[in-house]
């Protein structure tokens, strides 16, 4: 009998263990890796090395649940002996409520834009937030989400939040069209209002006005069931003029789709709004529904199965998790913006469709792919971010910052903290096209009391500064500090710098505490905390 060396045994075990765990779920990940690696070869670049577990845990918490991990969560992960501990962590995070809230934050901004304080209150009050969180909590298919939002006719009371996408736009039908195009189709159509898009000429004026036409019979109304968007069975016929004065009648059409036929009244003809043009709504108390509903036509004849729906979504998810879309900017998927990996994009879109528009599955496979797990230090000889040869640093969103600062200071967080509102105003960007800091952000962090007060108000024994001050040696103190805030141990130099600074307070207790508060400020506002890397 051949004596198999122990190491080889172990290797075999590992291999078979890994093989046993190779599920259907790994094949898409392998496909992603393949497309990306192929481009590295073609460009002859060496990608960054893989990220350590210590770095990975901070990164994936931020990307999937919108905050840094607590030291306990970090330790739990690092202590996990399983070879596929990252897979388990990802699955754990994706199933958590924090994930639903974080993705709801992202998609609220992507679909609705940043709003005034009043808008955020209304979005909660009218169940838009709750509905959006449920989408991610229940992992609702994206095509279903699109359908619900665009039709805005809830079939059960718990889906009533979906009407808010249209409702918040206050009957501004052009604004609605300009929001739908990037949100669901990944293209911007504003330029096509007065003439065919000057750069991406495939986007025509008739597409713009066609999209408007699908929604221009809609009107906000308040019912006993709450706000609804009712729809007339008549009207909405007009012409649009270009700059030379030529006018064209608006037809029901959109980019990448045909024309939905509809009888058109003569110019003088007054249409009569007759009761027989309507049927009752599914929900009692909801407004009646036109038999021929333009919104419904849009959903069933245009949006359903439209290739851009899947394409736009996978591109956006890629941008969210990898810092940059395969088409960049992520909402300009027109002929003037080539995808960096066209085959990957095609494949991802098809795979997404085949999966039934499974959002969580898509996020999972991207997060477990090789490009996601690369280090964030740009390697030598590469400068094109579109190669995804290193993990692209990105700034924390306002919500990620607000949660992470609380986690660092308190070990827990509240989603209703006033810090959210203050940070939203200073750091409104989600998926910015470029990463650069403007001076007003630095001024805010330096001079606005928001962050300083948050720190100085954190005086419970369980909070960071009090806990630090309970410890004896500078090493212990600074270790707790950097482990909590950065998720790593301090260097010797860091320990001596901080210790030196705190010592200047002498025996003065309040002065010591103030020193530590300034130290905490310095770390919370440092680049290492500000960015996801």
């Amino acid at each position: 009998m051949m004596r198999i060396p122990l190491a080889a045994c172990a290797l075999l075990c590992v291999v078979s263990f890994a093989a046993d765990n190779t599920s259907a779920g790994d094949r898409p990940i392998a496909r992603i890796d393949h497309f990306i690696e192929q481009t590295w070869e073609q460009a002859d670049v060496q990608p960054a090395g893989p990220v350590t577990d210590s770095e990975f845990v901070r990164r994936v918490y931020l990307d999937l649940v919108g905050r840094i991990p607590t030291p306990q969560e970090r330790e739990t992960f690092l202590a996990d002996q399983r070879l596929d501990r990252r897979v388990h962590l990802v699955d754990l995070l994706l199933a958590s409520n924090d994930h639903a809230v974080h993705f709801a934050d992202l998609f609220d901004t992507l679909l609705m834009g940043r709003g005034r304080d009043r808008d955020y209150r209304d979005r909660r009050k009218h169940q838009w937030r709750a509905w959006l969180e449920r989408v991610f909590r229940d992992n609702r298919p994206w095509d279903d989400v699109a359908r619900q939002v665009l039709l805005a006719r809830p079939e059960s009371p718990q889906d009533r939040g979906a009407v808010w996408f249209l409702y918040e736009r206050e009957n501004n039908h052009q604004e609605i069209a300009e929001a739908i195009a990037p949100a669901f189709f990944g293209i911007r159509i504003e330029c096509a209002q007065c003439h065919d898009h000057m750069l991406a000429s495939e986007i025509e004026q008739r597409h713009y006005w066609g999209l408007v036409a699908f929604f221009n019979r809609s009107e906000n109304t308040k019912t006993k069931n709450g706000p609804r968007v009712k729809e007339s069975a008549i009207g909405g016929f007009s012409e649009f003029a270009d700059l030379s004065g030529e006018s064209t009648p608006n037809q029901l059409t959109f980019f990448g789709a045909g024309v939905v036929d509809e009888p058109r009244p003569a110019a003088d003809e007054k249409q009569e709004d007759l009761p027989e043009l309507y049927i009752e709504a599914a929900l009692e108390g909801d407004p009646q529904v036109p038999r021929f509903s333009r919104r419904e036509q849009f959903v069933t004849r245009i949006a359903d199965g439209h290739p851009l729906i899947a394409r736009a979504f996978v591109n956006r998810m890629w941008a969210i998790l990898l810092g940059r879309g395969i088409v960049h900017p992520f909402d300009e998927m027109d002929s003037t913006h080539e995808p960096s990996h066209p085959e990957l994009l095609d494949w991802l879109a098809q795979d997404f469709r085949d999966s039934g528009y499974d959002i969580r599955r898509l996020a999972r496979m991207i997060v477990l792919s090789r490009p996601y797990g690369l280090g964030s230090r740009r390697p030598d000889g590469v400068d094109d971010p579109a190669l995804f040869a290193w993990y692209l640093e990105r700034p924390l969103t306002a919500e990620q910052l607000a949660r992470s600062m609380q986690v660092a200071l308190h070990g827990s967080f509240r989603n209703e903290h006033p810090l959210f509102r203050q940070l939203r105003r200073t750091f409104p960007e989600v998926l910015p096209d470029t990463v650069g800091t403007r001076i007003d952000a630095a001024l805010f962090l330096s001079n606005n009391p928001a962050v300083t007060t948050l720190i100085s108000d954190s005086r419970e024994p369980s909070h960071l500064v009090p806990r630090i001050r309970q410890l004896e040696s500078p090493t212990e103190q600074v270790s707790l500090l950097t482990e909590t805030i950065f998720g790593r141990p301090p260097t010797e130099e860091e320990i001596s710098q901080i210790a030196g600074y705190v010592e200047t307070a002498g025996d003065d207790e309040p002065a010591q505490r103030r020193r530590w508060e300034q130290v905490v400020w310095a770390l919370l506002t440092s680049a290492e905390f500000r960015f996801n890397h």
């Binding site: 330029c191 007065c194 000057m198 750069l199 700059l243 030379s244 004065g245 964030s376 230090r377 740009r378 400068d383 094109d384 971010p385 579109a386 640093e393 990105r394 700034p395 096209d433 470029t434 990463v435 650069g436 800091t437 403007r438 001076i439 007003d440 952000a441 630095a442 001024l443 805010f444 962090l445 330096s446 001079n447 606005n448 009391p449 300083t452 860091e494 710098q497 901080i498 030196g500 600074y501 200047t504 103030r514 300034q518 130290v519 400020w521 310095a522 770390l523 506002t525 440092s526 680049a527 290492e528 500000r530 960015f531 890397h533």
Partner: protein
């Protein structure tokens, strides 16, 4: 407008106990040099040596950014009595044989100080692309972002340790369609965000510019020094451009705080404010002069995109052009009287011109094929009209000028070598001006 308070009187200067405290932070490398802890704007010039240093050797620039694109027919290249000339007449100027629109009577008296190019010929006819081309000088070459003119000038001629921002954008209009999108983009490009503009004007009165009362001067400096220590470390170890930009923004905070009064329109002399005119653009043009006089290097003044008159061309230009006329006149005259004109280049320009024909909506549309701009001072020769258009203004008839030649001329006038390359690591070779563009000799002093 801005409603901040002026910094408290008696702010610290060198020699105080604060200085001693700061010495403790030498480990953290907090203070750049000696007494550079400038706590107040007044403090800056109370130290004679420092005041001398900040007085300029290099040139400066004011860009009156006429966004939306002004009509050359109603400004520098009138065609009275023709089908395309529009309803306004032309008037003689103090340059024999040269006429301007009747809407510019004041500039007509100082044409000997202005240089006008009537033969601009560029490609983009869409705003965003036009703005991009005429503020950066070249077409885009993604993924690299060429810095805006102001960023280049700030980098080449500005003084980085001056507390006064070297590149300021004054634009009180929060909206502006394509220009709004442009304002949200990356202005400083590969030079790094520290060369991006500080934006002010109207409601942009730089919030959070004053230290909160609950925080002492020392704590404010010390914690920034600490922050910088940690951030620098991260930036260097990570080779992080994002962190570099982030840190650069913080570098400017202190300086900016010390010049808060510069951004308050109400602190400008009343007589000057009346002379320039009441409109927002005029007021901010005055503020630009003030900023330049007090240490800034490049100030860009805009007010949204009011010149884009596809509808109501003459109804709008009748108001906009006289304001521009007066502003340009006041600026050039003021700078001349103060002995600053030779060192300060004033440019009045939009992203293209407007069509010779009037559209159906009482408007002129975009026209990059033949358009005009004007400059004065800062190494540009006055009393020159360069180039010409044909009888109806449909095409350039003589000496077409494109963005390359224009930028070559502007850089040369300012003392920046157009053929010099940007010396930056990890960047392909880029020159200040690409190709073989020669500066226009007749426009240079």
């Amino acid at each position: 407008m801005s409603n901040h308070r002026t910094p408290p009187a008696g702010a610290q200067t060198c020699g105080s106990s604060e200085h001693t405290l700061h010495r403790r932070l030498f480990l953290l490398g907090s203070m750049a040099a000696g007494c550079a802890s400038v706590a107040s704007y007044a403090g800056l010039f109370s130290i004679p040596a420092l005041a001398e240093q900040t007085r300029r050797d290099g040139k400066k620039c004011i860009l009156l950014w006429l966004c939306g694109a002004p009509s050359q027919f109603e400004t520098w290249d009138p065609k009275p009595g023709t089908d395309t000339g529009g309803p306004f007449a032309a008037i003689d100027t103090n340059l024999p044989g040269v006429q301007v629109s009747q809407l510019m009577p004041r500039c007509a008296t100082i044409m000997d100080k202005l240089a006008v190019i009537r033969s601009m010929k560029t490609e983009p006819s869409e705003h965003f692309q036009g703005i991009d081309l005429m503020t950066r000088g070249e077409k885009p070459r993604p993924p690299f972002t060429r810095p805006i003119l102001g960023s280049v000038v700030a980098e080449q001629l500005g003084q980085l340790d001056s507390p006064v921002p070297q590149f300021v954008l004054l634009d009180p209009c929060p909206e502006g369609n394509e220009f709004k999108a442009f304002k949200a983009g990356n202005w400083a490009g590969w030079l790094g965000a520290e060369y991006g503009p500080v934006r002010a004007g109207g409601e942009y009165s730089i919030p959070d510019i004053l230290r909160p009362e609950t925080l002492s001067e020392t704590d404010h400096s010390d914690r920034e020094a600490l922050r910088r220590f940690f951030s620098r470390k991260y930036q260097n170890e990570q080779r992080s451009e994002a962190a570099a930009s982030y840190n650069a923004a913080f570098e400017r905070v202190k300086g900016l705080m010390s010049c808060a009064p510069l951004f308050d329109l109400d602190s400008l002399p009343e007589a000057d404010r009346r002379r320039y005119g009441p409109g927002a653009f005029a007021q901010h043009a005055l503020q630009a002069r003030h900023l330049i006089e007090n240490g800034s290097t490049f100030v860009m003044v805009a007010n949204g995109m009011p010149w884009d008159n596809h509808v109501f061309q003459h109804e709008m230009h009748q108001m906009l052009v006289p304001e521009l006329d007066n502003v340009l006149y006041q600026l050039v005259t003021d700078l001349d009287e103060r002995g600053l004109l030779d060192d300060t280049l004033v440019i009045a320009m939009g992203e293209f011109g407007r069509t010779p024909w009037l559209n159906e909506a009482r408007g002129r549309d975009h026209y990059p094929k033949a358009w005009s701009l004007a400059m004065a001072g800062g190494g540009i020769r006055g009393g020159v009209v360069h180039g010409a258009t044909d009888e109806l203004g449909i095409d350039v008839a003589e000496n077409p000028v494109d963005n390359h030649q224009l930028f070559a001329t502007i850089f040369t006038a300012l003392g920046i070598d157009p053929d010099e390359s940007y010396d930056l690591p990890d960047l392909p070779t880029f020159y200040h001006v690409e190709g073989d563009a020669t500066p226009i000799a007749s426009l240079l002093v």
